[in-house]
Point group: C2
Chain length 430, copies 2
């Protein structure tokens, strides 16, 4: 299944504060509902302030009433943060289920050596004790400054307070507690039917905008009350993460802490979802919708960003080449600054495709900004500069590049590069 297949309609409301509207998505077999990660049955959440950051909520708990099958995807960065190392070990030791996830913001617990590992394990043990569950039922996550030790007294105090605060409308509190330089919280939920029963998928996420004080981290935590075996859950989740969170870029910097999880607790009481069935397709489409929409929220909320840019590459020989070309354009500082300045400087896009490493014939390329034709084959320059500028002045821009040499395609999302990005990231760690 590719991104294309879902026919994502409706543009992103870039400034949504995380509250979702209940509406049907055209012909899609699911619709958005309120409630975020606590929309699925049997999930509760909380977010509170424990003193890691200066003011805002900085620690969150996501809890399932019963052990939930869990899928997880982690950063490929070789410089791994302590919580990521610990989580991988827990998942290997456990039986593929997870009951509770604790996340702190304000400190990434990365590049912290032995002390950092000790602190991460303390987070696990304290969570297990506070909830009276095995350690292997816990996942932890951290985001924030790199190279500084966690204030463990505060963290432990937070972990001990969380269990009494979880509730079935705690999603937004949790979404707020995991924010760093995000300007708004990101949450979403959808509902669909499996075997006549309503089933839900919810998610919260935080931004990849690299963070003052320090470190970008892209985190996403999803929940569902669907019944689905762990191997299929992991396979589906990993594939769809690859087509959503792995296709956004704010500045091309990959974090030491990136992670995404999906807990499936089966409490909707619907039939088990099996691969290759109609039900699996519905589940996958709904999951993809949530992941792509959260990913787009992150791209739009990139540090200093004022626009959401969708890069569509069509006519590629392989999907991988389409992704490669799209990523190259999405990461080009020149393209991103031109978009910021509403300068429809199309040559930079062709140059970025040119150095992406894919093999293609530049003379075959056509280019569109939204619906406006810019370049036809054989370098037929048809740009109307005034109209192109109008497109680039919009908040949502789609750049479509047709390589005209195959039938594969891919989408990628990015934002513009502004002086504000430089301002945020040049300023000293608080």
């Amino acid at each position: 299944m590719s991104i294309e297949a879902t026919k994502l309609n409706g543009t992103l409301n870039g400034h949504t504060n995380g509250h979702t509207n209940s509406h049907k998505n055209g012909s899609q077999p699911f619709h958005e509902i309120a409630g975020g990660i606590t929309a699925p049955k049997g999930f509760t959440a909380a977010g509170l302030y424990c003193g890691i950051r200066k003011v805002k909520k900085d620690i969150a708990l996501i809890k399932s009433d019963v052990p939930a099958n869990v899928a997880a995807v982690f950063t490929l960065n070789k410089t791994l943060a302590a919580p990521v190392i610990v989580d991988k070990e827990l998942l290997q030791k456990g039986n593929g289920t997870c009951t509770a996830i604790v996340v702190n913001s304000g400190n990434a617990n990365a590049c912290t050596g032995e002390q950092g590992m000790k602190d991460a394990w303390t987070m696990v043990k304290e969570t297990a004790q506070a909830l009276n569950i095995p350690e292997t039922e816990v996942i932890i996550s951290s985001t924030g400054v790199i190279g500084q030790y966690l204030p463990m007294e505060n963290v432990v105090s937070g972990i001990r307070q969380l269990p009494s605060q979880v509730s079935s409308d705690g999603s937004n509190d949790a979404a707020q507690a995991i924010m760093t330089t995000d300007t708004y919280s990101k949450e979403l939920a959808v509902e669909f039917e499996i075997g006549g029963k309503p089933v839900r998928i919810g998610g919260i996420a935080k931004g990849s905008g690299m963070i003052a004080p320090n470190m970008a981290t892209m985190l996403a935590f999803l929940t569902t009350d669907a019944t689905i075996d762990r191997p299929l859950l992991q396979k589906t989740f990993a594939k769809l993460i690859d087509e959503s969170f792995n296709r956004i870029s704010v500045d091309g910097d990959m974090s030491t802490n990136d992670m995404a999880t999906l807990q499936a607790n089966g409490l909707a009481g619907a039939p088990k979802i099996e691969e290759g069935t109609k039900e699996f397709t519905v589940f996958s489409q709904a999951l993809e919708y949530v992941l792509v929409k959260l990913a787009k929220m992150i791209a739009r909320d990139g540090e200093g960003a004022t626009k959401l840019v969708e890069i569509v590459v069509r006519g590629a020989k392989t999907e991988q080449e389409a992704v490669q070309a799209a990523r190259s354009v999405a990461n080009s500082n020149l393209v991103k600054t031109a978009i910021h300045g509403a300068d429809a400087n199309w040559g930079r896009i062709l140059a970025a495709v040119g150095y992406s490493g894919i093999d293609f014939d530049p003379e075959k390329v056509t280019l569109f900004f939204n619906e406006l034709p810019i370049l036809e084959q054989n370098y037929g320059i048809v740009i109307d500069e005034a109209k192109a500028k109008e497109v680039f002045l919009k908040e949502n821009i789609t750049i479509t590049i047709n390589l005209n040499q195959g039938s594969e395609s891919a989408k990628f999302w990015t934002c513009d590069l502004s002086k504000e990005y430089v301002h945020i990231n040049a300023s000293y760690r608080s």
Copy 2:
């Protein structure tokens, strides 16, 4: 031969306006002299205004009194500008020599299709006629706006005027005529002895700062009066370009027009340079010195740049991995903004090495900013924040990353990322 071998001493005078000082470089077997590309015997040059740009000089000619063996290296971008396509054809047809190079700024003649190819061939024909030489003795080069046709009447008029204006002190005029958003012209020459005779290498270059109106292009033209066969010249030049111009980055965007040439006309009358000899070592070291220094001038003069940053990776398993890690750090917007803001945010450097794709153990890494230790093995954080900030406030910063897992090393040069970069590149094509 690696960059290390030359023991480059002396820091770059970042604000040099291209005038060079005659001084001995410690124990090096060469010294800087004035004269740029016209320092070598038998080379003349000119630069004048022909009306491609709004005001400044926009067309240059570099001429050898006799056909010179020529080495050339071109961009790897698949979107090739017309002059690059034409040059490749000329070099294939000819007998490896070049008498005249014509370069215009203000227009890249890229993404211009058939008309662009026609215009490029006209430049070749007009140059050949004006100098009464075969077309295969000509190389052309363009830099500036992409996707616009050259104003050929002005270009032809410029080409016809140039031959009467070349002189043996025309290097700086040529260096100025090839500038785009460069804030100062870049030229350099060195002298050394081969068989008791003085031999010279000179060069001019223009910046890789991506250019308002449009397109970055990194161009370098070098001359020498050494006697050296073309295959050895090409091999040596390509290798040293790889360790100089291919190791700088302003924003990671690769141009459609990048090229570098080295003409060797033999007019010093010195013995022929043969591979594996002491003379070859001297020649290579002198050539590397010129290339690295020009490359550093370009990095320092990146658009909006206020600092020159040298990334040194040591202790790598292979040189290629050292380059890969260094490039990743040099291209990191997060590292570059932190340096701009003098925030010694070392975690971003480890993260950038972490996602570079090389295999390494983060716990073995040590880090230095200039001479100041920042990180010892096993995440021993020894940074003195006040002193580290002092280092980052300097105009020349060296970041040394020791992977401690091998004995290979590499250098890479970059600049900081400022709001001015965004300002320059967000503004409309003039």
